[in-house]
Amino acid sequence: MNKKSKSLLSIASALLISASLSTSAVMAKEGSEEGSNALEEGKNLAFTRKKGNCLACHLIIGGISPGNIAPPLVAMQQRFPDKAVLRAQIYDASKNNSETMMPLFGRYEVLTKDELDKVVDYIYSL
């Protein structure tokens, strides 16, 4: 960023504040946008073939032509009151079922920690 645009930015932000917008409202707005962006990212990671590819086996509402190998991913918060249990299932499905078909997304590093967190957040929102 050059000096000129930097100073433009600081003028702009000064204007924003002096326009007596409530700073907390601005923050809340940014926060929710960030939140839905992260969920969107989680959704993309869950749907993309090269990453989660959850649709290969699970029905997720909004996903096209899902497989039928595994239970539908619906009503997740009722079924997984404890989010950590959900995370553990996605991290290493073999802990619950040694014959599982589900890839061990965390343990075998199919997803990075950050990606896994985003997928868990998204699945938890279903």
């Binding site: 590819n53 649709l55 290969a56 086996c57 032509s65 899902p66 497989g67 039928n68 190998i69 073999s94 014959e99 078909m101 890839p103 061990l104 075998y108 590093e109 199919v110």
Partner: protein, 278 residues
């Protein structure tokens, strides 16, 4: 309920792999056959040779339409020409395979002298090399023409793989092939059995998973995805790659032993190759 029984039986099949002191190929085939019979109550055994089309009625319709103008026909014709054209030394395939060309049902077999599993592609190349010709590649290319011709001529013959019980080498090769089938591989951590036994009949995304029995009757196969005919070992390569496992060498020991086990599981089923698939 059926699903639970299926799951239990699958665990039993997997367990016998680890626990049997010595191999019993016939028993393996019976156990597997009973498992599929339970899983596919409406499907006749002979139908297994048609893979997923034995239970996927929608896929079957377009498959039957394709079979009216078989895309592999031209490969069969080209293969016939190869079979009948003499090598530079004047000899030909006929001199290597006295009972040819309808010989596909005799492969793979245990070659006692070489102490290894002999497959049809390998035998064809051995014939070429013995007559001063270059060997053909094992996944793509003109070996598929020859295989298409031989397989087409062998249609109607029954798969008849023999594992001589008095030969420790043959038994070990069979066992290795079987172990391969049940071993999880790749970053996605799946075995052949995960898809083609445990989940046979289920859909992985929009693909119907076929049962392992019947997998070998129709190779080489014309695949629309390939736009050509390809060998069984090419298919093995693809299925290994799907789970991000490093594929093995076509016609190397691992895939030959795998073919030995897998073809044995289809014993008694009629050869119906070349096939056509998505």
């Amino acid at each position: 309920m059926n699903k639970i029984i299926s799951k239990l039986i699958f665990v039993c099949i997997a367990w016998t792999i680890a626990s049997t002191a010595y191999a019993d190929p016939d028993k393996d085939q019976t156990v597997l056959g009973d498992y599929f019979k339970n899983r596919f109550p409406g499907v006749a055994l002979e139908e297994y040779a048609n893979g997923a089309y034995s239970f996927d009625s929608i896929g079957r319709e377009s498959w039957e339409a394709i079979e009216e103008f078989p895309p592999y026909e031209i490969f069969v014709d080209d293969g016939q020409e190869m079979w009948e054209t003499p090598f530079a030394n004047g000899k030909g395939y006929k001199d290597c395979f006295a009972n040819g060309p309808a010989i596909a049902q005799n492969y793979p077999h245990w070659d006692k002298k070489k102490s290894m599993v002999m497959t049809l592609p390998l035998a064809l190349n051995n014939c070429r090399e013995a007559n001063g010709e270059k060997p053909l590649k094992y996944k793509k290319g003109s070996i598929n023409n020859l295989l298409s011709y031989v397989t087409f001529q062998s249609r109607g013959n029954k798969t008849n793989v023999v594992v001589p019980k008095d030969d420790a080498g043959a038994m070990a090769a069979y066992e290795e092939g079987k172990a391969f089938y049940f071993t999880r591989r790749g970053q996605l951590n799946m075995s052949c059995a995960s898809c083609h036994i445990q989940n046979a009949g289920n859909m992985i995304r929009s693909e119907n998973l076929s049962m392992s029995m019947g997998h070998t009757t129709h190779f080489p196969v014309y695949r629309s995805k390939w736009g050509t005919v390809g060998t069984l070992h090419r298919r093995f390569t693809g299925c290994n790659k799907q789970v991000r496992a490093k594929p093995f060498k076509a016609q190397g020991q691992e895939y030959r032993n795998l073919e030995y086990y897998l073809t044995y599981m289809s014993n008694g089923l009629e050869l119906n190759g070349p096939g056509a698939r998505k």
